[in-house]
C-alpha cells in the first residue's frame, strides 16, 4: 500500500530508491516486512491527521479572540504578524518558556499525567472520524461507540488535576467539572441512541450516507433530510450537551471568574496550556461530531453541488462560530441550574423523543426506510 502510493506520489527519479527500500526491507525483516510497512504507513497517516488538527487547535484560539472581538466591536489580537496571524505562535512560545511550578506536596507523577489524560482522548477519537466516503483512518464498525467511550476518558484529566496538587480549591473545581461532565454524558448518549436508531448503524460513514437519502433529498434539497430537522429536539440537546462537556460558555464554571476554583488552578506554564489545548481539541471534536451526526457531514446541501471534504470543514467552522457566538452572548449558568438543566430537562426530553421516534419509525409515516 505504502510502496505503491510512494511510487505514484514521488517524482520518477526516486522510484529506484523506493524499489531498493522495498527489496532491502524484505531482505532484512523477512516475513515481518509487510506488517512493518503497515505500521509505518499507519503512523504516517496518523501524523497526517494530527498535525493539521494541532494547527487547527492553535488557530481556534486565535479565531475565537478575533470573532468575539468583532462581535463586541473590538479588534482582537492584531499586533503579532499581519492581522495578528502569528498570535498563536507567540502564545505558544510564551507558555513554553514559563516555569511549571509543581506544588510541594503534590503527587508528581499524577500531576504530570493529568494534562495528558485530558488532551489525549480528543486526538485518539480522530482515528475513526471520517472526512469523506473513504478518507478515514480506521473504518471500524462501531465508530460512534468508539468516539463516545474514548471521549468519556477525558474526565480523568479533570479528576486527577484536582486531586494531584493536594489543594482544596482545585479539588472543589474538579468535583464540579467532573460531575457536570458525567451528568451531560447521559443526555448526549441518549441523543446518540436516537441518531443510531434512525440510521440503523453505529458506523459514522453509514450515518452520514443515511442522511443523504429521503423525500427532500429526492427533490434536490438535501439539507432538509439531514438529521437536524427530523430530530430537532435531539439536535438542540446534543449541541447544548457538547457545550457542557467541553466546559464552554454558558457552562464554563471551571473558569468562572467570580467563583474561581477551577480544576486547573494549580497548573502553570505548558502544563496549563495543555488543558487549554484539550478544551479546544474537545471543542473541535464536538463540532465535528455535530456536523457528522446532524448536519450531513461532507454531503452538500443541494444536489447540484458535489459532495466533498470542503463541506465538512465549512460545517465544522460554522458550529465553531456558534460556540464563539454563544460565549459572547450568554451569561454563565449557576451551578445548580446547570445540573437541573441536565437531569430534569434534557434527560426527560431525550427519553420522550426516543419513544416518539420509535413509534414514528413503526408507523406508516416512517421517513427513514
Amino acid at each position: 500500500m505504502m510502496i505503491e502510493t510512494l511510487q505514484q506520489l514521488l517524482p520518477g527519479f526516486l522510484t529506484p530508491c523506493v524499489n531498493w527500500l522495498a527489496q532491502s526491507g524484505e531482505g532484512v525483516f523477512g516475513s515481518l516486512w509487510p506488517d512493518i510497512v503497515t505500521l509505518v504507513w499507519t503512523v504516517v497517516k496518523v501524523m497526517l491527521i494530527i498535525a493539521p488538527l494541532l494547527g487547527a487547535v492553535a488557530y481556534a484560539t486565535f479565531a475565537e479572540r478575533k470573532v468575539i472581538g468583532w462581535m463586541q466591536a473590538r479588534i482582537g489580537p492584531n499586533r503579532v504578524g499581519p492581522w495578528g496571524l502569528f498570535q498563536p505562535l507567540a502564545d505558544g512560545v510564551k507558555v513554553f518558556l514559563k516555569e511549571i511550578v509543581i506544588p510541594a506536596h503534590a503527587d508528581k507523577a499524577v500531576y504530570l499525567l493529568a494534562p495528558v489524560f485530558s488532551f489525549a482522548p480528543a486526538l485518539i477519537a480522530c482515528a475513526v472520524i471520517p472526512f469523506d466516503d473513504f478518507l478515514v483512518l480506521a473504518d471500524i464498525d462501531a465508530s460512534l461507540l468508539f468516539v463516545m467511550s474514548v471521549t468519556s476518558v477525558s474526565v480523568y484529566g479533570i479528576i486527577l488535576a484536582g486531586w494531584a496538587p493536594n489543594s482544596k480549591y482545585a479539588f472543589f473545581g474538579a468535583m464540579r467539572s467532573a460531575a457536570q461532565m458525567i451528568s451531560y454524558e447521559v443526555p448526549m448518549g441518549l441523543a446518540l441512541v436516537v441518531v443510531l436508531m434512525v440510521s440503523g448503524s453505529l458506523n459514522l460513514v453509514d450515518i452520514v450516507q443515511g442522511q443523504g437519502r429521503g423525500t427532500f433529498a429526492g427533490m434536490g434539497l438535501k439539507f432538509l433530510s439531514w438529521n437536524w430537522l427530523p430530530l430537532w429536539p435531539m439536535f438542540i440537546v446534543y449541541v447544548a450537551s457538547v457545550f457542557a462537556e467541553c466546559n464552554r460558555a454558558p457552562f464554563d464554571l471551571a473558569e468562572g471568574e467570580s467563583e474561581i476554583i477551577g480544576f486547573h488552578v494549580e497548573y502553570s506554564g505548558m502544563a496549563f496550556a495543555v488543558f487549554q489545548l484539550a478544551e479546544y481539541g474537545a471543542m473541535l471534536m464536538g463540532c465535528t461530531l455535530v456536523s457528522l451526526l446532524f448536519l450531513g457531514g461532507w454531503l452538500s446541501p443541494v444536489s447540484f453541488l458535489p459532495d466533498g471534504i470542503l463541506w465538512l470543514l465549512v460545517k465544522i467552522f460554522g458550529v465553531l462560530v456558534l460556540f464563539y457566538w454563544v460565549r459572547a452572548t450568554f451569561p454563565r449558568y449557576r451551578y445548580d441550574q446547570v445540573m437541573r438543566l441536565g437531569w430534569k430537562v434534557f434527560i426527560p426530553v431525550c427519553l420522550i423523543w426516543l419513544a416518539v421516534v420509535a413509534c414514528w419509525m413503526l408507523s406508516p409515516w416512517n421517513i427513514w426506510k
Binding site: L32, D35, L39, D107, V110, L113, I140, D141, A142, L145, F146, M148, S149, V150, S152, V153, V155, Y156, I159, L160, W163, F171, M175, A178, I182, E185, L202, R334, D336, Q337, R340, K344
Partner: protein, 200 residues
C-alpha cells in the same frame, strides 16, 4: 512470529504488570489508576480477538463510569497510609486460603484446556460481519428475558439510590432553581409611569 502475537504479548505484559500493581501499591489512587490501565490492556486483547463491541463497552462502562465513581470515593476518603498496613498478619490466613482457591481454580481451567487438547482457536469472521449487530440480535431474541431482568434490577437500583437521598421535607430555607427559572420580570418588578414633577 506473527505481528499479532507481538502485540498480544505487549498488551499481556502490561496487563499482568498493571494487575500486580493494583494489589501491591499502597496508595489507593495509584492502585485505581493501574486498574484503569489494566482495563485498557484487556480492551486491547479483546480487540485482537475481534470482539470490538465488548472491548469498547468495557472502556465505556468500566473506565468511563465505574472507575470514575470509584476514584471519587477513594479521593474523598481520608486515607492514612500507615494504618493501611495494620492487620496484615491477622488477615493473612484467610486471605491466603482465598487466594489459593482462586489460583487452584484458574490452574484447573487452564490445565483442562491444555490436556484436553482443545485448540483455543478464535473463529475468524469475515469483514462484513458486524459484532454489534450480532450481539444486539442475540440480546433481544434469545436472551431477551435475562436482559430485561437485568435492566429491571438496574432500574430498582436507580430508584433505591434516589429514594435514599430523600429525607423528608427540607427544614432549612433553600433556593429551588426550577421555580427560579420560571420567574418573569413582571412578577418581581412593577414599572410605574410617573409624570415629571416641576421643581419650584
Amino acid at each position: 512470529m506473527e505481528f499479532r502475537t507481538l502485540v498480544f504479548y505487549f498488551l499481556a505484559a502490561i496487563l499482568v504488570f498493571a494487575s500486580l500493581r493494583v494489589v501491591t501499591l499502597r496508595n489507593p489512587v495509584h492502585a485505581a489508576l493501574h486498574l484503569v490501565l489494566a482495563f485498557f490492556s484487556a480492551c486491547g486483547v479483546w480487540i485482537l480477538l475481534q470482539a470490538e463491541f465488548l472491548a469498547i463497552a468495557l472502556i465505556l462502562v468500566y473506565v468511563g463510569a465505574v472507575m470514575v465513581l470509584f476514584l471519587f470515593v477513594v479521593m474523598l476518603l481520608d486515607i492514612d497510609l500507615d494504618r493501611l498496613r495494620e492487620g496484615f498478619w491477622s488477615y493473612l490466613p484467610m486471605a491466603s486460603i482465598v487466594s489459593l482457591l482462586v489460583v487452584a481454580e484458574m490452574v484447573l481451567v487452564l490445565i483442562s484446556r491444555y490436556w484436553g487438547a482443545q485448540e483455543s482457536d478464535v473463529p475468524q469472521a469475515d469483514t462484513a460481519y458486524s459484532n454489534v449487530r450480532a450481539v444486539g440480535r442475540l440480546l433481544f431474541t434469545e436472551y431477551v428475558y435475562p436482559f430485561e431482568l437485568a435492566s429491571v434490577v438496574l432500574l430498582v437500583g436507580i430508584v433505591a439510590a434516589t429514594a435514599l437521598t430523600l429525607r423528608g421535607k427540607r427544614k432549612s430555607k433553600s433556593i429551588d432553581p426550577s421555580r427560579q427559572v420560571f420567574v418573569k420580570a413582571r412578577d418581581r418588578l412593577r414599572l410605574v409611569r410617573m409624570p415629571a414633577e416641576k421643581r419650584d
